[in-house]
């Protein structure tokens, strides 16, 4: 593949990925309003388009045309930098995620992954520290929230971002530790490699996914830590509207607020992608040989989308079900329960991996 083809393919892949991601983000918001509405016995959005399907577009237009207020006593540079930082780190992580296997189109073969390439032997390969880059970007995402609260020069914002930074730093530990078991079992840090290690089945019907290979507890630790990491209910103290108005983005309006909003949902999608790849076998799934070839080519993408949808719906479902934790409960839960459990999981997994080696 020449340098020019590589560049063109990369740009096309980036454009498609960002387009799809932003659409998913917009319609996750719609799905959330609709589903939570039904759970609370009301309609949710129903006016704009059939079933309110055009609501995200209307919301986007509203955000663009609203007055953009900058309060007079903010630290101007950091105030503008914060939403950009939050959104950039949230959108960049998706580049590491392998969405599907190699596709052959117009004589070019490339994996469905922004940072993926086909190597000399014809196998898909990607950055061999992919999962660490996602964790690194997640940890940089804290700055968007921390700086938003600091630069706003308002006590609600400051309290919200203090809570957010403490919470995200604490839960990052359990989040990282819960993934170590999976990494030990697949002995690679490359996300494509991790997916490939999960192909196949036991007894012909139980998939060879990490969740069925002893990483059951790690999966739940990951999910709980991820909920806290993305500041979602039941861990949404940083923006608890009953206590802090809107937390760290109290002073933001119009598109700058929308950027925080998009960052939160993009992070949810990334978390869902990582959970599917690490525990549910990524795009692997049952092959359905009775379907026509054209449909079969799309099966991996279908399986991956189903898994993502499952996690996004889980987010919404839990939001409609659980109340908010108290802040001290949150910290105690993170450090006294999740952290030791994650450590124990690492030790036990390492023990079994060592025995089998």
């Amino acid at each position: 593949m020449s340098a020019l083809t590589f560049l063109i393919v990369a740009v096309i892949k980036i454009a498609i990925t960002i387009g799809v991601l932003l659409t998913v983000v917009a319609y996750t918001v719609w799905l959330e309003r609709k589903a939570v509405g039904r759970m609370q016995n009301r309609w949710g959005p129903s006016r704009v388009g059939p079933f309110g399907l055009l609501q995200p577009l209307a919301d986007g237009a509203k955000f663009l045309f609203k007055e953009d207020v900058t309060p007079p006593f903010v630290d101007k540079k950091l105030y503008l930098l914060a939403p950009v930082l939050a959104l950039v780190t949230a959108l960049t992580s998706i580049a590491m995620v392998p969405i599907g296997p190699i596709v052959h189109l117009f004589g070019i073969s490339t994996p469905v992954q922004v940072t993926g390439v086909v190597d000399a032997s014809g196998h898909a390969s990607d950055i061999n520290v992919g999962i660490l880059i996602i964790l690194g970007l997640t940890s940089l995402g804290v700055y968007g929230i921390a700086l938003a609260g600091w630069s706003s020069n308002s006590k609600y914002s400051l309290l919200g971002s203090l809570r957010a930074s403490a919470q995200m730093v604490s839960y990052e530990v359990s989040l990282g530790l819960s993934l170590i078991g999976v990494l030990l079992m697949s002995s690679t840090l490359s996300l494509t490699g991790i997916v490939h290690a999960q192909f196949g089945t036991y007894f012909g019907f139980i998939p060879h996914w990490n969740i069925f290979r002893g990483q059951f507890i790690a999966f739940f630790i990951y999910m709980m830590a991820a909920f806290a990491e993305t500041n979602r209910i039941p861990f949404d103290m940083p923006e608890a509207e009953t206590e802090l108005v809107a937390g760290y983005h109290t002073e933001y309006s119009a598109m700058k607020f929308a950027m925080f909003f998009m960052a939160e949902y993009a992070n949810m999608v990334t978390v869902a992608c990582v959970a599917s790849i690490m525990f549910l076998g990524g795009w692997s799934g049952p092959s359905l040989p009775f379907l026509p070839m054209v449909v079969q080519a799309f099966l991996p993408l279908l399986w991956f989308s189903c898994k993502i949808f499952f996690f996004l719906f889980l987010y919404i479902w839990i939001r409609g079900t659980l109340p908010r934790f108290r802040y001290d409960q949150l910290m105690a839960f993170g450090w006294k329960f999740l952290f030791p459990l994650a450590l124990a999981n690492v030790v036990v997994t390492a023990f079994f991996v060592a025995i089998r080696a």
Binding site: L78, I127, N128, V129, L132, I133, L135, G136, T138, S139, L140, V142, Y143, A146, L147, G149, W150, L158, S161, L162, S165, A166, M168, V169, E172, S187, L189
Partner: protein, 165 residues
């Protein structure tokens, strides 16, 4: 290309370090330090040490500096007061700086590595190789460092928990 990128990131690194010193606001200094850490990570990446680069970002930019910013926010530290600067610093500052640079340059030139210099991008540092080195060749140093960190943590807990009664 590699040389250009190296110079670019090295420049970012030095600019961040200088900005760290001259900024009156604590939070801006902390942010400059993040720029320094990030540029260092990119330089590691140029050398081909991707694992070390990512760890640099996660540990320094993602964890340690977040705590710095957290403390600055918690204490609500504003702009620091600038002193006029002492007379000795004014007189001896620039000659001292030049002398220091000259000594450092002399030492570097004298002890230049005799073997051929490694070109940028020639080293390859995947995670498994780094792990093997840490747990075989540098095992003692690694374990002693972790004990040292543990002692520091315990010391911090003892100091924080000490009651006045």
């Amino acid at each position: 290309m590699h040389l250009f990128l190296f110079l670019l990131f090295a420049m970012f690194c030095v600019a961040g370090a200088v900005n760290l010193l001259i900024q009156p606001k604590t939070i801006n200094s902390a942010l400059s330090l993040i720029v320094v850490m990030g540029s260092l990570a990119l330089i590691y990446l140029l050398l081909g040490a991707e694992f070390v680069a990512v760890i640099q970002v996660i540990v320094y930019a993602g964890a340690i500096m977040v705590l710095f910013i957290f403390v600055i926010m918690l204490l609500n530290a504003g702009a620091e007061e600038q002193s006029k600067g002492s007379l000795a610093a004014k007189v001896l500052g620039i000659p001292g700086l030049l002398a220091g640079c000259a000594i450092a340059l002399g030492v570097f030139l004298k002890h230049r590595p005799q073997e051929e210099l490694i070109p940028i991008g020639a080293l390859y540092g995947p995670a498994d190789k780094v792990g093997m080195l840490i747990f075989t060749k540098y095992l003692l140093a690694f374990e002693v460092t972790s004990v040292l960190v543990l002692i520091a943590i315990m010391g911090a807990v003892v100091l924080a928990r000490r009651s006045d009664s």
